[in-house]
Amino acid sequence: MTLAAPLPAEPAPPSARPDEARPAEIRAKAAVEDLSFWYGPKQVLFSISMPVAEGCVTALIGPSGCGKSTFLRCFNRMHDLYPGNRYAGRILLEPEGIDIIGPKTDPMVPRMRIGMVFQKPNPFPKSIYENVAAGLRIRGVRSRTVLDAQVEKSLRRAALWEEVKDRLHASAHTLSGGQQQRLCIARALAPEPELLLLDEPTSALDPIATAHIEELIDELSRRYTIVVVTHNMQQAARISRFTAFFHLGRLIEFGPTEEVFTRPRETMTQDYITGRFG
């Protein structure tokens, strides 16, 4: 499936023209079709349609309260943890085209295949090792050799191995904020997710730790499909290949990052990225 395919002709947002200047080999890892979402009686997402390109970083930007985090949390059904929330539309997880938010889909199905890193570093109150091994233990992996190997591999990919290899069994809370966030990334990577969701992963970190994480995201994008929410436009421009701009629960513009930042089609996008509001 090419990127163009999952975008329905109707009711696509007027700005979505996903066909230009894009190598043909990019495929969609997920396709959002006409997604709406309600917190109780309050609708917060309105008919959103966009693809998530496989093997690329897609950035979701927009002012606070625009629904970008809410949108991200639809992908792994986080909203199911709280009562009164409602989805409409479809999010198809490729290649099989499973509807993530379909009423017949168990929320555990997408969660098994999609990893998530949260805004605030949230390691479990356990050792560094156990944090990374958590996803594997949940999947019933018992073998010490498999666990050891996967923990090391994930920590290496999260660029944390060198710093923690001598104290794997120390509490995760002894790490600094930036290290904790990389630990959370390692934890998300350990079960080998097909898609990685990052919800403002650097908003609680200082500039140096942020730079680390950004480098890491760049590195990871060679191997994983990543969707990252950020309130930092420079960050979106630096690390993403595609950018989606949200405002008041609507997708205003979606396209290759270069185009969105240099030649936005919508004046609202233009205003936001030039700092006129938000």
């Binding site: 986080m78 949230n122 390691p123 934890r187």
Partner: protein
């Protein structure tokens, strides 16, 4: 008035006033604390001074007697220990399970609302009411008799709400990020609860257990109501036996007494010598309570250290 229209205030005066207020409150707090601690200390000290000279091996290993010089508390402290064992074995798992269910599994509807309100209220029901209930239901209804089992059951019922509420509070205080992280990794509910929530809630739950068991060990009224003996000259059958299967539960069906009842019995006698024995039994009860709490605090400390 300054140009801005705000009253010009002397910062130093405000700060001095704030200091005075803080000092005043700290002073009141200290005074209250001192009075409360002093009264408690005086009580304990009086108990120890009166009772301690009577505590020796004979006192701990003798049965009660009509003569004060030969009387001991063997059946009483053994009874207290065994009753607490039953209470803990019942109240801890049931209390944690109920709290867990209410907090994590129960749907939010009117039925759970009613249950919640009732559990909170149950913690305030006078213990004698529980004694009456146990007498009617366990002793006469189920024909369990005036036994250690029934005593443990009634005390477990009595302190169950404390453990339920503590469990719920402990679970509720876990940041929701921990819960979300577990679910996002693909965990099911039971995995989230057993692998991440319960370990994180352990210190809070243990505090609840300490409070609950400390309340149970000093209870007298419900045990008197179900017919605990006040004079007993034998021990319950031992829980560990020489023959296979080495464990016996016969003691559950045995009549019993406990330390508070033994104390009450001695206090109500006219002879002063028995009053001193009551104080000695009180010291033993205190030591047992402190030992139990010490153990729980140690476990909680270990749990906290693991949590980092």
């Amino acid at each position: 008035m300054s140009e801005t229209g705000l009253p010009t205030t002397d910062g130093r005066r405000l700060i001095a006033a704030a200091r005075r207020r803080d000092l005043l409150f700290a002073g009141i707090g200290l005074a209250v604390l001192f009075v409360a601690t002093a009264v408690l200390l005086a009580l304990v000290l009086d108990l120890v001074i009166t009772g301690a000279p009577h505590i020796d091996l004979d006192f701990l290993t003798s049965y009660p007697s009509r003569r004060a010089s030969r009387a001991g508390i063997l059946p009483a402290w053994v009874g207290t220990g065994l009753v607490m064992l039953v209470t803990a074995a019942l109240a801890i798992p049931f209390g944690i399970a109920a709290g867990l269910y209410l907090e994590e599994y129960a749907p939010r509807n009117r039925v759970t609302d009613v249950i919640e309100i009732n559990i909170t209220n149950l913690a305030g029901v006078p213990s004698i009411i529980y004694g009456l209930l146990a007498l009617g239901v366990f002793v006469y209804g189920f024909r369990l008799g005036e036994t250690i089992l029934v005593a443990g059951m009634v005390l477990a019922l009595l302190v169950l709400p404390v453990i339920v509420v503590a469990t719920r509070e402990a679970l509720r205080s876990i940041p929701r990020e921990v819960r979300e992280a577990a679910f996002a990794l693909g965990a099911d509910k039971w995995q989230t609860v057993s692998m991440y929530l319960l370990p994180a809630a352990r210190p809070g739950i243990l505090t609840g257990i300490i409070v609950a068991l400390a309340r149970a060990i000093g209870e007298t009224a419900p045990l008197v109501t179900i017919g605990a003996l006040t004079f007993i000259a034998f021990l319950p059958p031992p829980p560990i036996t020489a023959q296979p299967p080495f464990v016996s539960f016969e003691w559950l069906g045995s009549p019993f007494t406990v330390l508070p009842i033994q104390m009450f019995n001695w206090i109500s006698r006219p002879q002063a010598a028995f009053h001193e024995l009551a104080a000695a039994a009180g010291v033993v009860l205190l030591v047992m309570t402190l030992a139990m709490n010490g153990l729980a605090i140690y476990i909680r400390y270990r749990a906290r250290r693991l949590l980092g």
